[in-house]
Symmetry: C2
Subunit: 243 residues, 2 copies
DNA sequence: CGCGCTTTTGAGATAACTCAATACAGGTGG
DNA sequence: CCACCTGTATTGAGTTATCTCAAAAGCGCG
């Protein structure tokens, strides 16, 4: 998921603030598609922030490699992770010119920045415009999916759903078994699912006890029974969950 | 919110299925803007459905008057209301050609239908394309707002937040007091907030006891203390909530 | 080897749920 | 015009899933 080259290339001095200055860490890439020739690629390092809630929106970012975390905060410190962004995702769609979420890098990688004004001038680059519209529609669909999870599912259902989505997005198949390397910690997962880290941990333990998953370490999940996990995610047999 | 004329004009025989047939209930309107001349307006009646989950997406709809409800269902009947759409909102953004939510009319009114293919051909009508992009961005912002509510707020905070959003969208000011006519019932509110109808009702009663609101009838809310309700919505003083 | 951070496990507290009864409102028909 | 009837909303009492607080375990790092 993260190319080692990128990690090397990032200077150790880089701190959060740097990422907000668009002139830092810019680099030309071999253009992958015609309409992207003009849009610079940027290396980003875990721990950086691409933007904060309330920032004037300058760019939307397409993730090339690495993982981003979008979140919103409540005054008293409560946190909601809106989304994790993986390669192919576009983040930073603005609201009346401002970002309404904070965007942090949780796994170093590379992003492509598009000036926000391309969103409102489709005639200048119809191809790019269509790409961004599709990305926005994807984002809407993704958020809607997660609504159901957030509003109507139990802790085990939420956690199982989460693992299945990640399996789909970043799962790898080794020796016939699907495994997921989690780039985020339990607190991030909890804040994504509207739970506490303890409850997430208990759900993992529960799945392990049922032999649906195995954990080689806390962040490496092997899926032993996809169907069983699917049943969990949809409350297929709600009795099963307590078993 | 709902013009009486529209209610009259709709035939009593109209049932859900009719709304899905785009040839039914079409009518030319005086074009409000140049780019909308070609897009037909359609009268819709409370109880109809504009589309269902899984339907091939043909149109996105701009609400002119009335209120729509977007929702998703789980096999076992659990329901999540994704959004209520008021005049000015655009609903029905498709996912790979299909609708991923069900859309029902909860208050009769009028919508404008735009063919989905305009989303992917911005050069044909840049002005419309920009309008739809802005609508999509609004939708994303709106969904993100609601994420925080859904994932991290208590029942009273959720309910207070809900009332404040509605105040902003459809509140009216009479005799110096802001009032809201709720077009949806308690079950809809509950399914929007991830609660039960009983809990929503208790929250209303709680606010009434604190003299933050008054209810002339179950669907007519008068806001007596906006600041107090705001404090409730943000858990400003969490002690206050239990008072 | 010991320190700090994350995760896991445990035990008790609580917010919201479930089920059930009552109250209310709007529409219908006598 | 009023009584009834149906669906929605409210209120009550007991249950439970999840949270909170606390302790133990695991893991990486200097």
């Amino acid at each position: 998921m993260i190319s080692p080259v990128n990690q090397e290339a990032v200077m150790l001095a880089s701190v959060m603030q740097e990422a907000r200055d668009s002139t830092v860490q810019l680099r030309r890439l071999a253009p992958s598609q015609k309409q992207k020739q003009l849009h610079p690629s940027r290396l980003v390092k875990a721990g950086q922030s691409l933007f904060y809630e309330g920032d004037r929106a300058q760019f939307v970012y397409e993730v090339k490699s690495g993982v981003l975390r979008l979140m919103r905060l409540l005054e008293d410190g409560r946190r909601q992770v809106i989304a994790f962004a993986f390669p192919g995702d576009v983040v930073g769609f603005p609201q009346v010119g401002c970002h309404t979420t904070e965007c942090d890098v949780i796994a170093s990688g590379e992003v492509v920045a598009y000036r926000c004004d391309v969103l409102f001038h489709p005639d200048r680059d119809p191809e790019l415009s269509t790409f961004l519209m599709k990305s926005a529609l994807e984002e809407i669909g993704f958020l809607q999916d997660h609504f159901l999870t957030l509003g109507r599912k139990s802790a085990t259902e939420k956690t199982a759903s989460f693992l299945l989505v990640l399996l789909d997005r970043i799962g790898t198949r080794t020796a016939g078994l699907a495994t997921i390397r989690l780039p985020m910690n339990r607190a991030d997962i909890a804040d994504f699912l509207g739970l506490t880290p303890e409850t997430v941990s208990r759900a993992f333990s529960h799945f392990r006890a049922l032999r649906l998953i195995a954990l080689s370490d806390a962040n490496t999940v092997t899926i032993l029974d996809t169907d069983g996990l699917q049943a969990m995610a949809e409350g297929g047999s709600r009795a099963l969950q307590r078993a």
